[in-house]
Symmetry: C2
Subunit: 464 residues, 2 copies
């Protein structure tokens, strides 16, 4: 029972909110070089707060980008070691004129803290630091060995994190990652993310003549790369809407049955969905469960951009020299990014008509889909804690989006990552007027206290 | 015989070149508002030169854009009346650093005059003015009644010309237009343009959700307008490369057999063509005659632009709210722009999948293909004059591009337009280092003297 810790935390919530406002007042925008000093200031804020909380070995490690902050607390060789992950950088706040209060002047309205970074990820990250401080203040010890890894480049794709982790393997060695980043799926339903889709990104460029040509003089005899591109990318899907690339679906494994049960249970409303995104509902309207299954459990091959020729006002009689398409695939369990890339290349190369050049570029190596082992002990602990808080068993949900850090921790440290963030997906964290529900802040403090204690009590060496 | 006129002209060629240099030194760039005063100066230059030549009724008429210059000379109620068309405005000269000598400092190199506008259209336009002056100086009269219409907005699509012509119908009434604008197809082959393709321009926009969506969260359930657009525009052509729109080819009339004979006669080299445009030759390589037939006599449906989603560096996981395509069709004799537009709209609307919005915008009314009646008497006169000059019968050629003024004269004045320009298509008139062959200037002076005399002698009332 963490009654003592919870009482300590509850008595100090106003002070914690003031600290969160200070943290959020730092414009630590990792994408904008002009804010480099602010990003470093946020790293120091995190490091100082870890030190104040009583954690040991607090260090700021330079990387080729923004620094990584680590800390540790070691009490018992036989206790499990939990590594907490979070990030101190934030998204750019633009467009500024869409904010009701300035993004870096944190403001409380209706029990919500409005500020860039409040929900992603400064609020959720501050929670486990405060909980650790409470344990150390009240009891003089933590129920687990606790480490922190706090990065400053999450919003730019964590380009230097995995290299940094390689150099810090000793400081980071743990049995489990608890991520303070990520988001609850819906505010009204407790849930745990157990799977996310992988990602593969590529461009293709189709080349015709060496320069733009006049469509009157050359139309009919010269190759038009826009036409070839349109035919090529249209060939990537069949009339049934499925991806028509041979081998694309090869090797797909069935999903965790718990996710399928969630899809049937949540009553996803298809009409409401199309209303919310402002799109015309297709006829016939797909069932809600089918839509949610496609978001979570089906792979996609999505066009993200088409570019070529003239795009301004009016008309221009041009046959352009080239045309390009940007594509990302979301992958599900069992699909290998390398093999999917090869299958797409083969499909495009076979179909590129004579008289055109085709160049395909892959962006990064991408990532495979992630899925927690359904019987992972830490998953059960988290579910029990959430059930205790909410009175209902949390749903196991999948994410359509990609969470690359899980794969990074598995590759670098050989451990699984359980998401235990108290932000919610509707908190506009990549848009103006980002906010963090203070109710979630208070709930998160209790939940983290309970989950650390439960892990210490129940897991021991079991997760190693 | 115009021996007297030709001798008068030949004795003054150096003076004429100096005058052409003065005309070309005026940067009369109609597209650039900063050059409005220069454009007016070029209009006055043309008007003054017509007055000096001895033409009557010289007038500068304001329009909503740049002014129109007219002049006339009336000698004999029974003689045919010829209206000479040309323009005093020029293309923008950019990029300036690609010019070997500055665009508005006319420079003679290798018997070519290098300057913006030298070939298009100041050199070819000056010729009939000088020829008229020679007739009036040597004989005191012209062999035809001669009128001039010189505009200043040809390079911006002549947006106000047809309205101006409507208001000047009395001053412009004639039996025939001889255009000093247009261009010989090749420097080594005398030719007469007898047909050109028409034009229809449209955009389509496909709409999905009301705003850009995250392709991870929404991929698989949200409509992707890029995919719908690619499928729609890809459906516009069949696997054989022909336009797949029902009704597109309806009503097409067979071309002038003389054009088909030209296509067989000229020995168009397909390998050289693909080398010149810098494109990979398709395999199998089409026959040269087939390529030229497609340029001149086949209609096209050409994509000129595709726009939607992200086009910058790297990758962006977006499902954009909309995607658009720009299309122009080149039309051949018998195709009606209105009916072709309706056929394309019907094709697209039938195929637009549910869940997407489709908006189609037409740019202007476009223009039907133009073709001279094969037995037009003035055409035979022009061919005889060119045969006398070159020793071979000129070829009747078509143009893949669109020449809207012919249709404008037919609609407004009810008369045909014969192109009698001495610029050549290779003179870089829409590119840096535009030049005009002075050999063409000298030949053009003789040719215009002969053609005016031959029209006066042979046509009389016949063309009315």
């Amino acid at each position: 029972m963490t009654t003592d810790i919870e009482a300590h935390l509850a008595a100090r919530v106003d002070r914690y909110v003031a600290e969160l406002r200070d943290f959020c007042a730092i414009p630590s925008i990792s994408a904008q070089p002009a804010h480099k000093a602010d990003v470093e200031r946020a790293a120091r804020f995190a490091a100082d707060r870890l030190t104040t909380a009583g954690l040991a070995d607090v260090a700021i490690h330079p990387t080729e980008g923004h620094p990584v902050v680590t800390a540790g607390w070691h009490g018992d060789d036989h206790a499990p070691t939990v590594l907490v992950y979070g990030h101190y950088d934030v998204q750019p706040p633009e467009p500024l004129d869409a904010w009701q209060s300035p993004p870096f002047e944190p403001t409380v309205r209706d029990d919500r803290l409005y500020a860039r970074g409040a929900s992603d990820d400064k609020g959720p990250l501050l929670i486990p630091i405060l909980v650790a401080e409470a344990f150390l203040a009240v009891r003089g010890s933590l129920p687990v060995n606790l480490k922190f890894l706090i990065e400053g480049e999450e919003e730019t794709g964590s380009p230097h994190l995995e290299a940094a982790m390689g150099g810090l393997a000793d400081r980071l060695a743990a049995d489990l990652v608890l991520s303070a980043d990520g988001a609850m799926w819906r505010a009204d339903l407790p849930s745990v993310i157990v799977a996310s889709r992988g990602l593969l990104a590529l461009d293709l460029i189709v080349e015709g003549a060496a320069k733009d040509l006049h469509s009157g003089r050359h139309g009919g005899s010269a190759p038009n790369p826009l036409r070839a591109l349109a035919a090529l990318v249209a060939s990537l899907h069949g009339a049934d809407g499925r991806v028509a690339v041979a081998g694309f679906y090869d090797g797909i494994r069935p999903p965790d049955p718990a996710i399928l049960r969630t899809i049937e249970a949540v009553g996803f409303d298809p009409g409401l969905y199309f209303t919310e995104i402002g799109a015309r509902p297709p006829a016939p309207l797909p069932a809600g469960a089918e839509l949610l299954r496609r978001q979570w459990l089906e792979p996609t091959l999505e066009l993200n951009g088409l570019t070529g020729g003239y795009g301004g006002d009016g008309t221009k009689t041009v046959i352009p020299a080239w045309a390009s398409a940007k594509i990302t695939c979301r992958l599900v369990a069992g699909q290998d990014p390398d093999r999917v890339f090869e299958a797409i290349c083969a499909h495009l190369e076979q179909r590129c008509p004579g008289g055109f050049g085709l160049a395909i570029t892959r962006h990064g190596r991408g990532s495979a889909a992630a899925a927690l082992p359904p019987d992972l002990p830490a998953l059960g602990v988290v579910e029990d804690v959430l059930e205790g808080l909410h009175g209902v068993r949390p749903l196991r949900v999948a994410m359509g989006a990609t969470i690359p850090i899980g794969g990074g921790f598995r590759r670098t440290l050989g451990i699984e990552t359980v998401f235990f963030s108290f932000s919610t997906a509707d908190e506009d964290y990549h848009a103006p007027n980002e906010f963090f529900r203070l109710e979630s802040f208070r709930t998160g403090l209790v939940a983290w206290a309970r989950v650390l204690e439960a892990i210490g009590a129940r897991l021991g060496q079991a997760t190693r």
